[in-house]
């Protein structure tokens, strides 16, 4: 009954004295922990990046002198940012809001349609060819039309962002929902699991790696959607896109660059956030 040969049936076998694990002493353990935590402080980790950063900054300085209509010295950009941080913060929040609301709407709609598409073959055959074509179409190009149709408020930005995010999510999730291996489906069909049960317990969890793959694509896309829509609605509203549009028309290059740097930082932050969430949710997943 028990795995240990010779152990009398019904009793718990005594814990084995020898194992294949070598447990370090507390001092060793502390040293190892410290080593792991301070890994990023070692020059081998940060030096290459910092070196390239310095090179780029020097290159930027040269560029600013050679092409003053394109580049401005980094000091000026920093000056603009520190002069009125509230202005940039407020516009950042507007753009972020548009991007996230659009992304949220796009995500919910795309996920719902992905479920329908994966369950109903007729709908799949109708929808998926369009989805593939539209996901490779630069949908941001309809931004001017949306501004004409929906005005200068938040609506065209949210709609454009939702549209831009919709198709990559749809394609990824529709694929993910069908990624349950055949033998698994067979095991659960022999116990007559209903379609809803298969969806809930097998398909949706199996699609999560695909959901995160699509989020990695779509978080940056949402920023693009929001900024392009702001650019198209020139000078009318808040947001970093509008800041860029207005400042460049007035030849305030430092402000343009400051807004771009803020966008880069914001995009990185979102990407980092997705990665973090992915590590949390998909701890079981090994790509």
């Amino acid at each position: 009954m028990s795995l240990q040969p010779g152990a009398p049936a019904g009793t718990q076998p005594a814990p084995p004295r020898r194992t294949h694990l070598l447990v370090p002493t507390p001092e060793q353990l502390a040293a190892r922990r410290l080593r792991r935590r301070t890994r990023l402080l070692r020059p081998a980790y940060w030096l290459p990046f910092v070196l390239l950063l310095v090179v780029l900054a020097i290159g930027w300085g040269i560029g600013a002198r050679q092409m003053p209509y394109l580049f401005v010295p980094l000091g000026e950009i920093a000056g603009v940012l520190s002069e009125d941080p509230a202005y940039f913060l407020q516009n950042t929040l507007v753009t972020l809001g548009e991007a996230l609301v659009g992304l949220g709407i796009g995500f919910v709609a795309a996920f719902a349609l992905a479920v329908v598409v994966s369950e109903v073959a007729v709908v799949r055959r109708a929808v998926m060819p369009f989805a593939v074509v539209l996901s490779v179409t630069p949908l941001v190009a309809i931004a001017p039309l949306l501004v004409v149709a929906l005005g200068f408020g938040m609506a065209p930005k949210v709609v454009l962002t939702a549209l831009v995010c919709f198709f990559p999510i749809l394609i990824n999730v529709a694929t993910g929902l069908r990624a349950v291996p055949g033998p698994v489906l067979e095991v659960y069909r022999t116990v007559a699991a209903s379609r809803l049960e298969v969806l809930r317990y097998l398909r949706v969890p199996a699609s999560l790696p695909y959901v995160f793959a699509s989020l990695r694509i779509v978080f940056p896309l949402s920023m693009i959607g929001a900024v392009v829509a702001e650019l198209a609605a020139a000078g009318s509203a808040d947001g970093l896109g509008s800041v860029i549009q207005v400042a460049s028309s007035q030849n305030r290059l430092a402000t343009v660059w400051a807004a771009i740097f803020v966008l880069a930082a914001l995009g990185s932050l979102l990407f980092w956030f997705v990665t973090l969430a992915e590590r949390r949710v998909l701890h079981w997943h090994q790509p």
Binding site: V187, T190, W284
Partner: protein, 256 residues
């Protein structure tokens, strides 16, 4: 099952007879192995029994029900060739989930933790499948099937991908679990010694078309432990089965 036939349409639009004229009665509570060369329709036979596929001719009944009705009543436990565990659920979660689906027909949950402990997974209850060895995964899959308390257990070459030592250990555990429940077992295998070791009855199949060529009763005392493998009786059955398989194979060659 009676006069069962199953066709597959091939790429060239010709029907392939995967199974033909299958007549087989399996007594409740017996352990039956199905053995035969690749392509003789062993797995197809399992899918017909469990209602995953329908026969093109003939009739199959499971405890007086159609295969679909039997599946609806949770009469089956299925162990596929790959363990087919869900990577996001722990060992315990994986063996519990089948009880959460089709709840109406559930036969009650035995002490799954105890069952897992019995097959040596006591320290792995909360581990994820990725942290397990191949043998441990397949043990989990076996407990998942046994935990359902099914009338019929269907195993499709469950030990095919395992090394010899693991294989023999798992055979032993499979027999121990089975002695407790005495469900009907239909066990598909490639291995002659595995068939002799485990079964009351071995069904020999031949390919093209898939059919039954021989049924051999294995009359060895139970419980059958490791030692039985070296006994002369065991060896005699192995030889007999080997002959029967050779016949089945040569039939197939002539037919093609």
């Amino acid at each position: 099952m009676h006069g069962v036939r199953r066709l597959y349409e091939q790429a060239d639009l010709v029907d392939l007879i995967a199974l033909d004229d299958i007549d087989l009665t399996i007594e409740p509570g017996t352990f039956v192995s199905i053995i035969g060369p690749s392509g003789c329709g062993k797995s197809t036979l399992l899918r017909l029994i469990s209602g995953q596929e329908s026969a093109d001719a003939g009739r199959i009944t499971v405890c007086g029900l159609t295969p679909k009705e039997a599946a609806e009543a949770k009469a089956f436990g299925f162990v596929p060739q790959s363990p087919a565990l869900l990577p996001w659920l722990s060992v315990l979660g994986n063996v519990t989930l089948p009880h959460k689906v089709n709840r109406r027909s559930d036969r009650g949950r035995p002490d799954l933790e105890a069952l897992l402990r019995e097959v040596g997974l006591g320290e792995s209850l909360h581990k994820l499948p990725a942290e397990l060895s191949g043998g441990m995964k397949q043990r989990t899959a076996i407990v998942r099937a046994f935990g359902l308390r099914p009338d019929v257990l269907l195993l499709d070459e469950p030990f095919g991908a395992l090394d010899e030592f693991t294989r023999e250990a798992l055979q032993e555990q499979l027999l121990e679990l089975w002695e407790q429940t005495r469900a009907t077992v239909v066990f598909v295998t490639h291995s002659i010694s595995e068939a002799v070791r485990l079964s009351d009855k071995v069904v020999v199949m031949a390919p093209r078309p898939g059919r039954i060529t021989d049924v051999i009763d294995i009359d060895l005392p139970r419980p059958r432990h490791q030692e039985i493998i070296t006994s002369p009786e065991f060896h005699a059955y192995e030889l007999k089965l080997r002959d029967s398989l050779r016949d089945a194979f040569s039939h197939g060659e002539v037919a093609s």
